[in-house]
């Protein structure tokens, strides 16, 4: 097999992995601060994908123009979910939180089925079929745009948490809940902001993924699972870990498909998860608790 094929496949896997990472970043941010696992994560992503598809089909809006509106809409949804539904469950047992968010996920899937039907829908822009030729390397243009945007958004999110007052306050809540209360932080509001930010992340990832894959309501649960695999591999609660996990899973799927058999792509991704759980349960960049 020609050597450039390995490079081609690896680059494609890397770019897909970056978008996966952005999606999982939202899940990791929410868990890292609010300590609630968002089991409706993939379903929220498909909401953003449908918004992109509808805006493109009805108004001719390029998906990149939908980045900010979709992220803002998902931010609002996440904020309202946290304030209205999740906050009362914060101190309840984990299985209650689990059932609550599974219920939210089921409602979202069925709403999407009612509104959009089960058919796969896609965005076919003028650059949907473009690719860049760099020497013998062929890079899918849509994946390149999506991967680059994912890096930019992840960078902006890191900067927000590191350099802004609100970001620091959110980190304080994550580090020491009681301490945050003592110094007068409005923890519930900060939780809502965090959930909103996580949802905005997955919204942006959804917009980017609509360039790469077709959307169906059934996609949500599959991507919720994928997000879990990524954040557990990278380290639940670790933002760099989520990105790393995404890239690792993207690369693994791509190279496993090439070197072994495409049918076994997911098997290798889950194989990595099992190895991480066995030998580094906190994830590659996660912190050991207790």
């Amino acid at each position: 097999m020609p050597t450039e094929i390995y490079l081609n496949v690896a680059v494609n896997g890397l770019l897909t992995g970056l978008v996966y990472g952005l999606m999982a970043l939202g899940l990791s941010v929410i868990f890292g601060v609010v300590r609630v696992v968002n089991f409706a994560h993939g379903e929220m992503m498909t909401l953003a994908m449908y918004a992109t598809v509808v805006a493109f089909a009805s108004l001719g809006l390029d998906p990149f123009l939908m980045l900010v509106p979709a992220a803002a809409a998902l931010f609002a949804l996440g904020y309202l979910l946290q304030v209205g539904i999740i906050n009362p469950f914060i101190n309840r047992p984990e299985h209650s939180q689990f059932m609550l968010l599974v219920a939210v996920a089921t409602i979202l899937v069925n709403l999407q089925l009612i509104l959009f039907g089960p058919d796969a829908r896609s965005v076919q822009t003028s650059y949907s079929f473009d690719s860049f030729l760099v020497g013998s390397l062929i890079v899918d243009a849509s994946k390149a745009y999506a991967g680059a945007t994912a890096v930019l958004i992840a960078g902006a999110l890191f900067a927000f948490f590191r350099f802004t007052v609100i970001g620091k306050a959110i980190r304080a809540c994550a580090d020491n809940y009681t301490g945050a209360l003592v110094v007068g932080l409005d923890v519930k509001r900060l939780y809502a902001l965090t959930f909103g930010l996580g949802a905005a992340c997955v919204g942006a990832a959804g917009v980017m993924l609509s360039l790469v894959i077709d959307v169906t309501p059934a996609l949500g649960p599959a991507y919720t699972l994928l997000a879990f695999v990524i954040v557990i591999t990278g380290g639940l609660g670790s933002m760099p870990g989520a990105l790393l996990g995404g890239v690792l899973i993207g690369l693994t799927e791509a190279l496993a498909g090439l070197l072994y058999t495409p049918s076994a792509k997911s098997m290798f991704a889950f194989g990595i998860l099992v190895l991480v759980l066995l030998f580094r349960p906190q994830g590659i960049l996660g912190k050991r608790i207790g």
């Binding site: 097999m1 897909t16 089925l113 039907g117 058919d119 076919q124 059934a218 049918s263």
Partner: protein, 418 residues
């Protein structure tokens, strides 16, 4: 489940009771796809037919396309003076376990005959339930050979098995290459790894050597029918240096594969499909001129048959712009078989219905071949394939010569020159 009535003459009364209405209304959110109410006639009760299709999930597009065959069947069956059918819709959700549960539920709700389910895995599950419960089951589309090799007494298939499809496909390919004067030298065989895909892959090993085709199979690549990204698969196929693709795919993956071929700047000499996807309306409409060129070797309809023209006209009226295809043809014929059996059996007794199906001899039908009849295993062995090519958003028949309305165009036009 939603119940619909098909066939029969003018109504003495509709059988839409408050309970039926409430049941249908309640299920409307669950079951996608509806058919307009036809009319129930007074002469005898309608035969309750459970139609199981993948109306949601990864095969939803195809399942809903099959349902169009159900929608247009009522008036045609009435025109053939066949007794009415009460359609009970079931959604398999593209999942064999769900198919099994839905079949049990439909039988529990009174279905006297089952039809479906497009997919071999789902049809296998339904066949087990039908045989266990003693309810006749007419398979519309499913090619895995074992379904009719189990000694079942209540299972019938009016669709070719994988070896039948392959045998016809390779014969048609030789014909196409001879007319076109060109052929690929090597192909990569890419197939979905579901029951249908693996049955076809197994069949190729036995059938391919008998035909002395001009190409060799350079590599075989199996992939998940629910795959979201097929870039690796296409890259791997391209790297073999083959100049053709031999495919057994579904609809969504056919579109994904085409996109990847364009992005990876590879136009094979020929795309030879031996399954669904590449000839379907959604494929043609979504991809526009990029959809032109692939050849599909599939069970098809004989355009010269009278009932084919009736079916074509009914589909054009109900769904303008939708091309008649395998999904409509074989779903319609499954209902035709049910109505014909009910008429001859004169009873809803499952055994009488099964006996009537076993002795069916329907000459006025749609699919290519002498008509509908079943062997001792419940298989219609007389069905034939056609070779279709996508041209400017339409389908033309290029083989067999007796049914052809165009000549094949090979090699395919490069994607970047369209």
């Amino acid at each position: 489940m939603t119940n619909r009535k098909l066939g029969g003459k003018l109504p003495a009364r509709t059988s839409l009771s408050r309970r039926t209405f409430a049941t249908g209304l309640g299920a409307a959110g669950i079951v996608a796809g509806t058919s307009p109410f036809s009319i129930v006639r007074a002469q005898g009760a309608a035969l309750k037919v459970g139609v199981l299709l993948p109306r949601s999930g990864v095969q939803a597009g195809i399942g809903q396309d099959c349902h169009r065959g159900v929608e247009i069947a009522g008036d045609i069956l009435r025109g053939l003076d066949l007794p009415p059918l009460e359609i009970m819709n079931g959604d398999t959700e593209s999942n064999a376990d769900v198919a099994r549960a839905r079949a049990e539920r439909l039988i529990g709700e009174g279905a006297q005959l089952l039809v479906g389910a497009f997919d071999s895995g789902q049809s296998t599950a339904i066949a087990q339930v039908a045989e266990q419960k003693g309810i006749p089951y007419v398979i519309n589309i499913a090619a895995a050979p074992p379904i009719t090799e189990q000694g079942y007494k209540f299972v019938f298939r009016n669709f070719p098995t994988a070896p039948m499809i392959l045998t016809d496909a390779f014969a048609n390919q030789k014909e196409v290459f001879a007319i076109a004067g060109t052929a690929p030298k090597a192909v990569v065989f890419m197939h979905v790894n579901d029951t249908f895909g693996t049955s076809m892959a197994k069949g190729i090993g036995g059938v391919f050597p008998k035909f002395e085709l001009p190409y060799k199979i350079a590599d075989t690549i199996a992939y998940d029918p629910a795959a979201r990204d097929l870039s690796v698969e296409v890259a791997k196929a391209k790297a073999t240096g083959a100049d053709g693709l031999l495919l057994v795919s579904r609809l969504n993956d056919a579109m994904l594969l085409t996109r990847e071929l364009v992005k990876q700047r590879w136009t094979p000499t020929a795309i030879l499909s031996m399954g669904p996807g590449w000839y379907e309306d959604q494929y043609l409409k979504t991809l526009g001129k990029l959809a032109d060129g692939p050849l599909s070797f599939v069970p098809w309809y004989d355009p010269n048959k009278k009932l084919s023209k009736t079916l074509e006209a009914a589909l054009a009226k109900a769904h303008p712009g939708v091309n008649l295809n395998t999904n409509h043809i074989f779903t319609f014929e499954a209902l035709l078989i049910a109505a014909d059996a009910y008429k001859r059996a004169g009873s809803t007794d499952p055994k009488a219905l099964a006996d009537a199906i076993r002795t069916a001899s329907i000459k006025d039908n749609v699919s290519i071949g002498p008509g509908i009849s079943f062997d001792a295993k419940g298989q219609n062995m007389t069905l034939k394939n056609a070779a279709l090519q996508n041209r400017a958003g339409k389908l033309v028949t290029v083989a067999p010569t007796v049914a052809a309305n165009a000549k094949p165009e090979l090699p395919m036009a490069p994607y970047d020159k369209r």
